[in-house]
């Protein structure tokens, strides 16, 4: 402290960062390395990485809370090895994500990472974790390319765009009977990937398509709405997140559009209904690789999760919170089975299989979720109701 104090005073006097850092550097070398690290025998650290304070933190805080809940419940059982959850706020920015990932690996000695939440940061962090041999399970990165890189330590508990588009396209051209489909995306990684995949999949089934994009930072989508009204499609499929979906569906409905409106897992949240307006949102469809019953009537697991979540955080289960919980549970299962080293955990994840609160969790060799079922949901009243598997679901 003494030394630091004098250094700080010097710093004030010199008031030059470069000169100051030179002094600091010389002083510090003498101090030697004090290193870091948290892992002793009785507790291990798992990281959670994502945008916790940035523009899209609304999508990342729910899975973080889901993970917190899972780990808190686990630690409450007084296990042999406790798990610390350390959060890394990347603000969704790859350059911050790599900095934090390297810090997590070197200083905090994490044994596993939940996240990164978005595909962009996953692309940057993936090689680091691969090199450091740290397993990761992302709750929400859906880009197809992530699974194609041959990463051995990477997993996700969310269906990729390809699987979802196949299911949704079957439903759209099948029981929904759409002959003309207009796809809209938010010009982001996730949304564009999904919307383009849907467009290609329905086109293969002989449907006429057209596409347009909206800006997720903007709120006025009237040019897109005009294009849709001009094209007169049977269905509009939106790839993107619920905030944008709500605005788009609302503006569409108010412009007098009467066809079907559909979106993907990124929009499967109650805020879609509040954003669109309950009246306008009626009959809006959603596709998702997740099996959730927001009402919690049939699935006891989900019901308990929803109650616990509400009790702890004072808010409803939101987007990707079940995925956050399931991703954390995958690690917990590994630790329960006596694995505390990153590589052991990774080996265990290859064979892990349990019923998560959202869906059965089991990974294939690419780290992709093995369950390939897509489910269709519909907005009825102020709830999002499960219609059933995409191959069988009927429009009510």
């Amino acid at each position: 402290m003494e030394r630091l104090g004098t250094l700080r005073r010097n710093m004030m006097r010199v008031a030059g960062a470069v000169a100051m850092s030179a002094v600091l550097a010389l002083g510090a070398v003498a101090c030697g390395d004090d290193g870091g690290g948290s892992g002793d025998g009785d507790s291990i650290t798992i990281g959670f990485m994502g945008d916790l304070t940035g523009e899209n933190s609304g999508l990342v805080i729910p899975p973080k809370q889901g993970a917190e809940l899972a780990i808190e419940q686990y630690n409450a059982t007084n296990p042999e090895v406790k798990i610390n959850l350390k959060t890394y706020d990347s603000q969704g920015k790859p350059e911050q994500a790599t900095t934090l990932a390297l810090g997590a690996v070197k200083n905090d000695k994490i044994v596993g990472l939940i996240g990164p939440a978005f595909s962009g940061e996953s692309q940057s962090v993936g090689p680091i974790l691969e090199e450091a041999k740290i397993p990761s399970v992302s709750p929400s990165a859906t880009s197809i390319t992530l699974a194609e890189k041959g990463w051995k330590y990477w997993h996700r508990v969310v269906a990729d765009d390809a699987v979802q588009s196949t299911g949704a396209a079957t439903f759209l051209s099948g029981s929904a009977g759409a002959k003309k489909v207009f796809t809209v995306h938010d010009n982001q990684d996730y949304g564009k990937g999904l919307a383009d995949a849907i467009g290609a999949a329905v086109k293969a089934k002989g449907v006429t398509t057209q596409t347009d994009a909206v800006d997720d930072n903007a709120t006025d989508y009237s040019s897109t709405v005009n294009k849709i009204m001009d094209f007169k499609p049977d269905a509009v499929y939106f790839g993107g997140y619920y905030a944008v979906a709500g605005r788009l569906f609302k503006q569409l409905a108010e412009a007098g559009y009467e066809g079907k409106m559909m979106s993907g897992d990124g929009s499967l949240a109650k805020e879609l209904i509040t954003g669109t307006g309950q009246e306008n949102a009626q009959g809006a469809l959603l596709s998702c690789g997740c099996l959730i019953d927001t009402a919690g009537e049939t699935n006891a697991n989900a019901k308990k999760f929803a109650d616990d979540y509400k009790a702890k955080f004072g808010s409803e289960v939101a987007i990707y919170s079940t995925e956050g919980y399931d991703a954390a549970t995958a690690f917990i299962e590994a630790v329960k089975a006596g694995n505390t080293k990153p590589e052991e955990i990774n080996e265990f994840l290859k064979t892990v299989s349990f019923d998560g609160v959202g869906k059965p969790i089991k990974f294939d060799q690419n780290g992709e979720l093995a369950a390939q079922d897509i489910f269709i949901y519909e907005v009825q009243g102020n709830v999002i109701k499960l219609l059933g598997n995409a191959n069988e679901a009927k429009v009510s």
Partner: protein, 382 residues
Amino acid sequence: MNMTKKLPSKSNGGGLSLDPLRDWWAGAAGWQRWGVYVLLIIGALLLPHQAIGSFMAPSGADWASMLSDQIAIYVLLAIGLNVVVGMAGLLDLGYVAFYAVGGYTIAIFAVKYDWSFWETLVLAIVFAAASGVILGAPTLRLRGDYLAIVTLGFGEIVKRTANNSDYVNGPRGVQGIPHPPTLSEWEIFGVQPFSYGILDSRPYYYMLVFFIVLAIIFVRRLEKSRVGRAWTSIREDEDAAELMGVPTFRFKLAAFAIGAAIGGSGGVVFAAKQTSILPTNFEFMVSALVLAAVVLGGSGSIPGAMLGAFVVAWLPERFRFLEDYRMLIFGAALVVMMIFRPEGLWPSRQRKAELAEGGGGMGHMGAEVGEQQTGAAAEVTK
């Protein structure tokens, strides 16, 4: 324009004045200066040491990669933008465009055409400079804030075009950008400073330090030459400069191109370090923060711009423990720092004098007159 203005910092500078140091520096012998340079470079090389990191980045982020991925990149960008804003007095709100051009150049040529890092670096610098000229040629006839909005627009155009172009994978960005080739396995103090891998960020940081030193020498030489004097005259009074026979347009274009080239080189290192880039890496906020770095440090001063960049890149990281509130505090800190040191943390003496004189090319806010008078009057009565 106003005779009653006084140098404000005299009355309020207090203990933070750099004057004694500057006086010593002005009179220092050649060997002393070289000694300081060498010490500074050694200091910069030792900076990534973890012991410093434990103070600078206590929340567990990897200090070395913070230096390479954020701080050193910002320092390089700030040096580049300083040429445009600080030296030539042109307000550029879209500097990120050139950074993006650099990043996308390596992304395209290294991934699609297998060019090596060093080849793409040269190409990126050329492309970035060319884009500076392309943007500058039609727009540099505009004055002041028209230029600001046009550059801002250009930044958005570049980002959105990248986002809309399937050739560069649209919003997915480009992945698999190769690291620079390892130059040597040579090891010193447990670091291989020329081996560019994934886990160790220090080699990238050293590369950036090298680029920064090069950029400083280059810019410094220019500043001391006819070019620098032309920039000063343009920034001070463009009409007068034109009348005195300075080809203002050509020199403004040169400032744009040089600033752009430095920004482009930053983009290349960033992309090679990250191995992937996305259009969202190149938000308007980056332009705003680099500009904040330049002004915060002291527009027109190279050490100032570096200090400003360091502060802007490092503060949010240091205050990570504030969690949700850290950006709130950061915004407030920007305002407070500008209020207390409007001339910047480390302004150049010349600029300080110019600022006292008449706003230093950028001009004062229009309606400061009454205030200035009362301020000066208050000073007289002291």
